[in-house]
């Protein structure tokens, strides 16, 4: 039984100059206790996918096609009021900047208590106890003392812990984390990654981890989806995607990441840039930059095809 199932999800933005497709018919699923990494460069559509799942797309962006199911139940067509109850209760969300998720005018204790009382049917006293134990669980030292503090009293890493505590307040089944460690220093980043991993394992929640940082994915996720120009170009076990990438884009992406151990002086370079949404080429969207392009790539769009232990949207893997 999967927790999140996304099928042929398409997100579009109608503009005066035509319709832009930011997410183009993507499908994936996340099992309980599993961390799925979603990686891609700016504009690849990874955050749009997350926002579409929680239905927080900024208008005029809208889900144009496809289905999103949470524990088997369709949520992409629910009325807004019902969806609002699901967010927070069943889906927890962590964004990059913890200050966007925290109200500067309330103490973190008040914010946690309010969230808990909104979603769970328990007494204020129990809510307070729960809030304190959540703060302890995410590693805030001396939670009783920090309970009356305002967000500005906390450092960046500690704020992100508070946001994680908020996201977990109602025991959600799905956690969507969009660049949760990007704004943090490496030593703090390692602490937050450890925390996310432990929470997924212990609580059996599904985690969708959206990031541009392949290192974070390597440390945290079991599977990874690589996005390019609004599509999933490769999806598979993390180890497989890192060590044996199958799509030429993933190959280039892996080669362009500097690594400490390697004695390298030059990085692999993918020429050019990702196409803009209004200029996505026909066929495979990567074809103008692809070193292995052939006639079919320009003519026909590839679907995800089995490639080793992964699946890749590339005609190189078409059965002969």
């Amino acid at each position: 039984m999967t927790i999140l199932t996304v099928e042929n999800l398409t997100v579009q933005f109608p503009t005066r100059r035509g319709i832009l497709t930011a997410v183009d018919s993507i499908s994936f699923a996340i099992a309980p206790g599993e961390v799925l990494g979603v990686v891609g460069e700016s504009g690849a559509g990874k955050s749009m996918t997350g926002l579409a799942v929680i239905r927080l797309l900024e208008p005029p962006g809208r889900i144009a096609a496809g289905e999103v199911r949470l524990e088997g139940r369709r949520i992409d067509n629910l009325p807004h009021e019902e969806m609002r109850r699901i967010r927070g209760r069943r889906i927890g969300v962590i964004f990059q900047d913890p200050l966007t998720s925290l109200n500067p005018l309330y103490t973190i204790g008040q914010q946690l208590e309010e969230t808990i009382l909104t979603h769970l049917d328990i007494s204020p006293r129990a809510a307070r106890e729960r809030a304190l134990s959540l703060l302890k669980e995410v590693g805030i030292p001396a939670p009783e003392a920090r309970y009356q503090n305002y967000p500005h009293h906390f450092s960046g890493g500690m704020r992100q812990r508070v946001v994680i505590a908020l996201a977990l307040a109602a025991e959600p089944r799905l956690l969507i984390a969009d660049e949760p460690t990007t704004a943090l220093d490496v030593s703090i980043q390692a602490q937050i990654i450890t925390l996310l991993k432990r929470l997924a394992a212990e609580r059996g929640a599904a985690v969708m981890l959206i990031t541009h940082d392949m290192g974070v994915i390597a440390e945290t996720a079991q599977r990874v989806a690589v996005m390019y120009a609004g599509r999933i170009v490769e999806i598979g076990p993390v180890r497989e995607v890192i060590h044996a990438p199958r799509h030429p884009y993933t190959v280039g992406l892996m080669g362009s990441i500097p690594r400490i151990s390697a004695d390298q002086r030059r990085l692999v370079q993918i020429e050019g840039a990702m196409p803009r949404l209004n200029a996505i080429p026909p066929g495979c969207p990567f074809n103008p930059r692809c070193p292995k392009r052939f006639a079919r790539c320009v003519a026909q769009r590839p679907e995800l095809l089995p490639a080793g232990a992964s699946r890749a949207a590339c005609w190189l893997h078409a059965p002969a």
Partner: protein
């Protein structure tokens, strides 16, 4: 084999900032003036043609060092000695560092206006075209505005502008931190090509250890305003000595997925307004003892650490 005359030398440079509350508050609440020491007795030399990287977490003072070198700040104590003629900076944010109202031609040509010899208009135009080609853009791009370019292309424009003044030293403050990895690879490759071709010297400031290991000949690790370790890049990454360097290297996500156990590091950088006594790293250090809590270690032999000096680690 270091040439006798380094291109750049910092001699025990410190920089304080006044962070006192307003005068009226100080008088009414009888508070003294307060200063924050952002850079504390930093010394290093950079030889011509090499890349020195300064690495550290946010707030460690690495950008302040860059500004001291560029002369944007005056040192409170110590001396910055630059033996070249010109230096230029490349900044992190390619959106904020280019004037949006100027065409690329004017942006790139700006350093030429301060050049010693006067150039004719045609000379300037051909110079700009040559610079743009050098950084991988097309001469036609000279007539466009910054908003027409992507982040990576804007960073190329910044580099072209920096090169226009024919600097010997380029100060790069997180030049690729705002870029996607594939674009970062393009810019880092470009920078190393330019270094080879033009014999440039770089001071490269970054929080990203993997990027630093790629570009640097020597690396200075900064913590809390001080250099805690300074060594050749190969040595530093193979055999880190200072506990903080070890901690930083340990915290970098492991892309090789070797499954090495990570020792998560507790704690955060202390508040610079109330620095801990002794070694600034002692509250987070697994090797700290009574001496570390009381006495600040001196920088000697490439590292500032009592435990290393006493051969405890």
């Amino acid at each position: 084999m270091r040439p006798p005359e380094p291109l750049l030398a910092l001699h025990s440079v410190s920089r304080d900032f006044d962070v006192s509350r307003p005068w009226l508050n100080r008088v009414l609440e009888r508070e003294p003036r307060r200063t924050l020491r952002a850079v504390d007795r930093v010394s290093f030399e950079v030889a011509k043609g090499e890349t020195l990287a300064l690495v550290g977490e946010s707030g460690c003072g690495k950008s302040t060092v860059a500004r001291l070198v560029a002369g944007l700040y005056q040192p409170t104590e110590g001396r910055v000695e630059f033996r070249g003629r010109r230096l230029q900076m490349i900044f992190q944010d390619p959106y904020a560092s280019l004037n949006p109202r100027w065409r690329v031609r004017k942006i790139v040509a700006e350093p030429l206006r301060f050049a010693t010899s006067k150039h004719s208009q045609t000379e300037i135009t051909s110079r700009v075209h040559r610079l743009l080609t050098q950084v991988g853009l097309s001469p036609d791009d000279a007539e466009r505005y910054p908003h027409e370019f992507s982040g990576g292309q804007r960073q190329r424009i910044s580099i072209a502008r920096a090169l226009a003044g024919e600097p010997e030293l380029l100060l790069c403050d997180e030049p690729t931190s705002a870029l996607d990895v594939s674009v970062q690879a393009q810019i880092l490759n470009l920078m190393s090509e330019l270094q080879e071709r033009l014999g440039l010297t770089y001071v490269f400031i970054s929080h990203n250890l993997a990027v630093v290991s790629l570009v640097a000949d020597r690396v200075g690790v900064m913590y809390f305003g001080r250099i805690v370790e300074l060594a050749a890049a190969a040595d530093l990454f193979a055999r880190p000595r200072h506990p903080y360097t070890r901690m930083l290297l340990d915290a970098v996500p492991d892309l090789g997925m070797s499954g090495k156990p990570r020792t998560p590091v507790a704690g955060e950088v202390p508040n610079p307004l109330s620095p801990p006594p002794g070694c600034a790293f002692h509250p987070r250090c697994p090797h700290a003892n009574a001496r570390c809590q009381a006495e600040a270690p001196r920088f000697s032999n490439g590292v500032a650490c009592h435990a290393v000096e006493e051969a405890r680690i």
